[in-house]
Amino acid sequence: MRGPTQILPTDRADEMLINMGPQHPATHGVLKVVIGLEGERVTRAVPHIGFLHRNHEKIEEARTYPQIITYTDRMDYVSGLQNELPFILAVEDLLGVEVPDRAKYLRVIFFELYRLASHLVWLGTGMLDFGAITPFLYTFRDRERILEIVEKTAGARMLPNYFTFGGVRRDVHPDFFKDVADFLDFFEKRLPDYYALVLDSPVFQARAVGVGVLPKERAIARGASGPVLRASGVAYDVRKAEPYDAYPEIEFEVPVREEGDVYARFWVRFKEMEESIKIIRQAIEKTPKVGPYKGKVPARMKVKGSRYRAVEISRGHLGAHVVGDGTDRPYRIKHRSPSFANLQLIPDLLVGARFADAIAILSSLDPVFGEVDR
């Protein structure tokens, strides 16, 4: 019995096997990577996942549709709210629910706020992996402001359970638009500091440029998505490819970079934060200040048929395939999660790199294990 992920003790005298994780500060949760080291050079890397497996898809088969939204939040807990959307979109399509304009824009604002929050967490913890402690505290402070804005309206910070079929669950707090605009002004002032501390820092550039290069073909073949794919020169963004909610009415760019190294992945996420600011500004302008926030939804949901919808969450292409058999519970739900696919790149990227590079590459992939293991 030798499964594909099993690794036998090494018989080479110059190779040392080391278990990185599941309790390792740089694995961002519960990843275990068995790394073979030859000095400082990685000779093989085998990721072991499943330490956070909670059987999401099976649990969801036994829940009614409104109940499932709560569970979808728990996948990528760093950008919690974003996970609700693909499932909700799929069910809305199957039920033929009409979403009011205001709800569409509100969804976009919240969606992008969570992208900012998630990228800030990534930036802070990523720089922690690079050995700089200070950006970590700055980013978490900024993220705190986003979460406070969200809490005022949605009632929770990380897993707000705020989107629902036909729109959003409740109307926004009266201060919401002002708060968000204030935050964006504040954050725009903070961004140059992050550039100075991270992207422009020569030490960071020395660590990141040319490290962990992912060629375009390899990225496509492995099913990578999100910033990882865009850093390899593929301009694929679900927000552009199959727009949802109010994204068709909003102008924004998809930052792409050709190099495919760690620096490119950092750069793409930085630019995405800037794009998010633009998107939120436009959305605030275009949102009708009053109006319905929720469309008409049948009280008893009997969903029949199957539908796959995807959204672009902070980490990439998150999809939900919902199969309904005409009862109030789904027959089957399948989530397609970006971190899981991105994690397949570990052996490709890590082998041949130095051990310190391995940490840098892992943090540039930005996996969240709630979503990898589900």
């Binding site: 690079f130 050995g131 130095r354 310190a356 590079d357």
Partner: protein, 394 residues
């Protein structure tokens, strides 16, 4: 089924232990730092000025017994200085990082948290000094001591004022290099003795890093020695009477600055520790007092390496004396004050660098040392020789 008692009235009524952390006390904090600095200065004056003066004036130094007592007392005082420096710098570093990171830093022990290190030390003393199963027991215990002693040895050769130095060695520079190299042994042995893979990797890195950096460091020091015409540290300081060495010796200064940060094992060169990569590296398995010794050594070095920057490049104790006779006791006390102030500024710069930069990779570090700093240091050495010739001819 029995129902629970209502936990409603179990709200934690916060009871203040010690000082109120919610009250910022900038005045108290400033006073505490002044006191820290003052006590350090007082200790320096006693150890370097008063005790030697007393022994000399009584003529006790001539007898073997008198000299023995002198040595013992001086050693204890040096240890005291090292301990006080570490205790102060730990809390100052934490407070500084707190300020930089929009936090408040330690706040609970002592007014505005200024006594935090004392309690930290007590905690570490009370902890079990745990050793994992497959350590080499002797070396495992010896390594922290080696590191601490080497840091502490460097203190002996540092002159703090005109004529105030514990051991005025005529090979002071070489002694400094030797003592700091000894510290690398502690780190490498400690990493290898603990029998863990992280420690072993940390030891590899420490070995590679410290060997790479000793060479440019020594060459930079040598350039200063060549320029000032002596390896005795007090002569080097005397030589900076008119012009601080940082101007003619700018290149060795840069080399020394980078190399001493690497020597200190702080970011951007904290590879042997690298808590996000190696989970602590060479001190992964250390706890209790063994860990405290590594920790203390690090902070003693955080004082000594900036102090050496001051001694070698920034005029040591030189400063305006306001007409005092340089050989008088008051002038010497003032000189030691100047020395400590300059050192404090450089400690701050070292902390500032530590707060800003991410970490280098091991091969980049060696690249920088062998391909960047070594040629630069050699160039500096040649330049120093030419300058020396020029000075002697003119």
């Amino acid at each position: 089924m029995s129902r629970m008692p209502l936990p409603l009235d179990r709200h934690i009524k916060p009871k203040l232990v010690g000082y109120d952390p919610t009250r910022p006390r900038p005045g108290v904090e400033r006073l505490a730092y002044t006191l820290f600095f003052g006590s350090l200065w007082a200790l320096v004056v006693v150890a370097y000025g008063l005790v030697p003066a007393l022994f000399r004036s009584q003529g006790w130094l001539d007898g073997a017994l008198g000299f023995f007592f002198y040595a013992v007392i001086e050693a204890l005082l040096a240890f005291g200085i090292a301990a006080v420096v570490a205790l102060i710098l730990i809390v100052v570093l934490r407070k500084y990082l707190g300020k930089v990171q929009e936090r408040v830093g330690p706040m609970h022990y002592g007014p505005a948290g200024v006594l935090q290190t004392v309690f930290d030390a007590l905690k570490l003393l009370g902890k079990e000094d745990f050793a994992p199963a497959n350590v080499d027991p002797l070396i495992f215990r010896l390594a922290p001591a080696i590191t601490f002693v080497s840091a502490f040895l460097m203190l002996v050769a540092v002159p703090v004022a005109g004529g105030w130095v514990m051991a005025d060695l005529n090979v002071g520079l070489l002694f400094i290099v030797a003592a700091s190299t000894l510290g690398a042994y502690g780190v490498v042995l400690g990493g290898l003795a603990q029998g863990g893979k992280w420690g072993m990797l940390g030891a590899f890195r420490a070995g590679a890093q410290l060997v790479s950096y000793e060479v440019p460091l020594a060459l930079a020091l040598l350039a200063v020695g060549v320029y000032s015409g002596s390896l005795r540290l007090s002569d080097i300081v005397e030589h900076q009477q008119g012009l601080w060495h940082v101007v003619p010796m700018f290149i060795p200064f840069l080399v020394y600055l980078v190399a001493s940060i690497a020597e200190l094992k702080s970011t951007p060169f904290d590879l042997p520790e690298a808590e996000s990569e190696l989970i602590g590296g060479f001190n992964t398995e250390y706890s209790g007092m063994s860990f405290a010794f590594f920790f203390l050594a690090e902070f003693v070095e955080l004082f000594l390496l900036p102090a050496l920057v001051v001694v070698l490049f920034f005029g040591g104790w030189h400063g305006p004396l306001f007409g005092l006779d340089p050989a008088s006791f008051a002038a010497q006390a003032l000189q030691s004050f100047y020395f400590l102030v300059k050192t404090a500024v450089w400690v701050w710069i070292f902390m500032w660098i530590r707060a800003t930069l991410p970490r280098f990779r091991d091969d980049q570090l060696m690249d920088l040392a062998w391909k960047g700093l070594l040629p630069l240091a050699l160039f500096g050495l040649i330049l120093a020789a030419f300058l020396r010739m020029f000075v002697e001819v003119v």
